[in-house]
Structures are given as C-alpha cells and as structure tokens.
Symmetry: C2
Subunit: 120 residues, 2 copies
C-alpha cells in the first residue's frame, strides 16, 4: 500500500491562554514553521474570533497547515497535511510548541489516499 | 468525555478527472456545501497547481473545510472540522460528491479537544 498524503493531527493542551488569542504571534509561528518543515507557502487566511480564539490556515504547495485555538480551554488543534515525503512535520510542531507552550500534546498520523501497489 | 470539535475526514476515489482539476467548479461546490452544512464562511483560499490538482480551503466560523485533489489518481481528500454541534457534514459531502462523482468514498470522524466532564 502506498499513500498520496500524510496527515498529521496534533492536540495541544494546557497552552498559554494569551498566546492562543494572539493572531499575529500565531501567524508568525505558522509561517516560520511551514518554511522550517520544508513546505512552500502559497496562501494564508487568519481570523480572530470574538470574544476569543484564532483560526489560521496556511495553504502550502504540499496541501495545508492549520491551527484553531480555544483560549478558554487552553487548547489548540493543529493539522499538517502534506503530499511530500520531504516535509518534516516535527519542525512545524516545534515552532508552534515554542509559541503556545502546551503542558501536554499528542500526535497522530493518518495516511490519505491509500492505493495498492501499482496504482499509486 | 466531551469534545470541542468534530473533524470529519472523507476519502473520495474514482472521481471525475476533469472535475478534480476544475478550480471554479470545486470553489462553487465547497462554498455552497459549507452553507448547506450550516457553516458560516469567513474566508477562502483556492489554488490550482501545475500541471494539475486543486487545493481549496474555506475558513468557517466553526473551523475549516478543505479539499485537495489528485486528478491523475482520481482522488480527493476532503476535511470538515467544526466546533458546532449544529453542523451537518453530510450536506457538504453531498454537494462535493455531486460535483466530483466518486465511485467510492469513506468517512471517518475524529473528536478533537477531548476533556473529561467538568473541564469542557
């Protein structure tokens, strides 16, 4: 079996509440993290919600990199979906971790677009 | 246990190759699908790759809705991440399905931001 994409799902708990609500800080960490992971940025959308919370999506040539935050729960959901075997998701995570400072986190990889050998 | 978000992961195989490369058609289906699912659109990014393939991300007040396509494999990866219990992901899927016409598809739900009762 061979996959077309790798989708990394990160859960970040116990983050710094102020950082979770800081759109500019999250934007900077995501753009730097994407580049450090070896991705090519082709677009971005960032949005701050009222009364709190930030959504950031960086469109990369390899697919997407997103973060959604819940400052009231100290939680952030981070996804990195890449079709390139050269992408290093740990580097993007490290950049976000350094900014949001979670007390605990989990990572999961979901293989996307699975074909049997010879079809992909 | 209670979750902050529901993340639906759809895999679409055997899609119409021409539709998979049609940025405007995908954009229209995604924007309509988001609204039909009960989501509120707050931003969007669409990108067509060379020689083929489309990435579309619709930022919704409830989180995000993304599609990535591989026309050469007849495959599309679709994600709908929502923090609202009122969102009906099947409606967004139906709209995309009507446009891409997959021969087979799968759906998976991942609960994001799980807290024990009393904490969320």
């Amino acid at each position: 079996m061979q996959e077309l994409g790798r989708h990394f799902i990160f859960e970040l708990y116990g983050c710094n509440a102020k950082a979770l609500d800081d759109l500019e800080g999250i934007r900077e960490a995501m753009l730097k993290g994407a580049v450090e992971a070896g991705a090519t940025v082709v677009g971005e959308v960032f949005h701050r919600f009222s009364p709190q919370g930030v959504t950031g999506v960086v469109i990369i040539a390899e697919s997407h990199f997103s973060v959604h935050t819940w400052p009231e729960y100290g939680y952030a959901a981070m996804d990195l979906f890449t079709c390139s075997s050269a992408t290093e998701p740990g580097r993007a995570f490290s950049r976000i971790e350094a900014f949001l400072k979670p007390k605990s986190s989990t990572a999961m990889e979901v293989k996307r677009g699975m074909f049997t050998e010879g079809r992909a």
